[in-house]
Amino acid sequence: MKGAHWRSVFLASYLVFALLPIYWMVNMSFRTNEDILSSFSFFPKHFTWANYAVIFTDPAWYSGYINSLIYVAINMVISVTVALPAAYAFSRYRFLGDRHVFFWLLTNRMTPPAIFLLPFFQLYSTVGLMDTHLAVALAHLVFNVPLAVWILEGFMSGIPREIDETAYIDGYTFPRFFLMIFLPLIKAGIGVTAFFCFMFSWVELLLARTLTSVDAKPIVATMTRTVSASGMDWALLAAAGVLTIVPGAIVIWFVRHYIAKGFAMGRV
């Protein structure tokens, strides 16, 4: 088939484009700074694990990963849980101010985060949450909850309403219908939503850095240590960058079935 042929050529060339910068980062992570800055090389000539050794032996580095994972997980669970019923309401019913609330949610993503810093600092100091994982998790709800509601609403609106009606006629209560029939139908949407919540919370730097100091310091903040008076530690940053990809790759590996699985029209 000619079409299928072009399709794989296109896909392959995109993947090359997508992976080359990442390959360059991996390449850098196995070299020393002098080596990186002095010569062009496709492969690490003086292969070294030293950069990774620094990260795995220094608690300041590896605790960064643990802290990030904790608040990202809390955030992801809260975001998806509160967004599911709300997205259902938006996709199925009209109610007072529905379109305004729906759009208002998204406006919370439109404010430059720099401007949130000072008010957030004051707010979380007042309620005594500074330097806790919960503070960052709650702060990240501002951009993740609206995102989750919007994505889920998109998927839910794609499901015909006849499915709901049939289920209610069959005597299902709302919670049972929602958990047993509806959620399995939008698995793909939930998978994507969970991944995006993970991703946006994982890479966010400004808020996470402002709301933490020691106990909950995230990896993205630790990374800024590689810039010092003596210059940039390129190799160490590259190694840390490679390691930041790993948890997310694992997450997408786990949700891949939900994303790739087709729509099961079983009941209709």
Binding site: W24, M25, P119, M223
Partner: protein, 302 residues
């Protein structure tokens, strides 16, 4: 499709409103508060009314940053949305290939933004970076630090590399949510590949495409970290986008009042554009959905 009115649906929405309002209302009020005051020190503040708004709106540098920003954001949309849709259509649908492609495509999203800038800084250098060296090898005098056009294109390429997967993943999941029956019906009718795309896949993608377009628009409009790390806004001010200009104002000159006024104006501009995009996409989308719904309905009935 008309939705029934049900005020009780508010109970389902309430948790979301509480979560977001907790962190959103107070900061916004603070910003509004700053924007009408001259803050000389935390104890000495003078009410200045709309003075900051007027001076910000008259700022010539702001106007040029705004034009650069608009061109950049629309360029981002023009490249990433079609590319993302094409990618979603090209990705395998089942088996280990689908899993592998999904993971590989998503990788660039997972790199912290400051690292993205740093990697491209090396990647684009013509002496030690692959991209720079490759462009040099085919005879281009490429330099993202010296040539404004090259810098701009490099920032755009970096954004395309970084964010196209977002559009692709959303569309891919959207495509997977289309019932098999729709394709079978189209096959029976002998619909062409193009017709399937136009009348089945596009309308079903409307919801996810809307969020993809809005997300890419607002995030590219607020882009800060990556160009800042890569080019520092230069050469000249070729890649100084709005948020960098704002940050220079707020942090560099420590003018909280004007910075707050600026960010309110900034916010209103993003809001305006998103609102227009949203309504436009909704209108276009609803029109084609209704035609498809009838076609699909007839096919479903058969």
């Amino acid at each position: 499709m008309i939705k029934p009115v049900n005020q009780k649906a508010w109970w389902l929405v309430l948790p979301v409103v509480v979560c977001v309002a907790f962190s959103a209302i107070l900061p916004l009020m603070t910003v509004v508060n700053y924007s009408v005051q001259d803050i000389i020190s935390p104890e000495r503040r003078v009410f200045v009314g709309t003075e900051w708004f007027v001076s910000v709106l008259r700022d010539e540098e702001l106007h040029s940053a705004m034009v650069r920003q608009l061109i950049y954001s629309f360029a981002v949309l023009a490249v990433e949305v079609p590319l993302g849709i094409a990618l979603a259509l090209a990705m395998p649908t089942a088996g280990w290939r689908a899993s592998a492609t999904l993971v590989l495509v998503a990788l660039s999203l997972l790199i912290p933004w400051n690292v993205v800038g740093t990697i491209w800084q090396i990647f684009g250098r013509s002496d030690i970076g692959l991209l720079g060296a490759a462009l040099q090898a085919i005879g281009l005098e490429y330099s993202y630090t010296g040539n404004p056009t090259h810098a701009w294109l490099t920032v755009l390429a970096m954004d395309v590399w970084h964010w196209t997967p977002l559009v692709a993943l959303l569309c891919y999941a959207g495509l997977r949510a289309i019932p098999e029956a729709f394709y079978q019906a189209a096959q029976i009718d002998g619909a062409s590949r193009l017709a399937v795309f136009r009348y089945i896949q596009m309308p079903k993608l409307r919801g996810v495409l809307m969020i993809a377009v809005l997300l890419r628009f607002m995030d590219s409009f607020m882009i800060y970290t990556e160009p800042f790390v890569l080019t520092g806004g230069g050469p000249g001010n070729a890649t100084t986008f709005l948020s960098q200009y704002l940050t220079q104002k707020a942090v560099g000159q420590f003018d909280l009042g004007p910075a707050a006024a600026f960010s309110l104006i900034y916010f209103l501009i993003i809001l305006l554009f998103c609102f227009v995009l949203y309504n436009w996409m909704q209108r276009v989308g609803t029109h084609s959905t209704s035609t498809t719904a009838t076609i699909a309905g007839e096919k479903g009935a058969v």
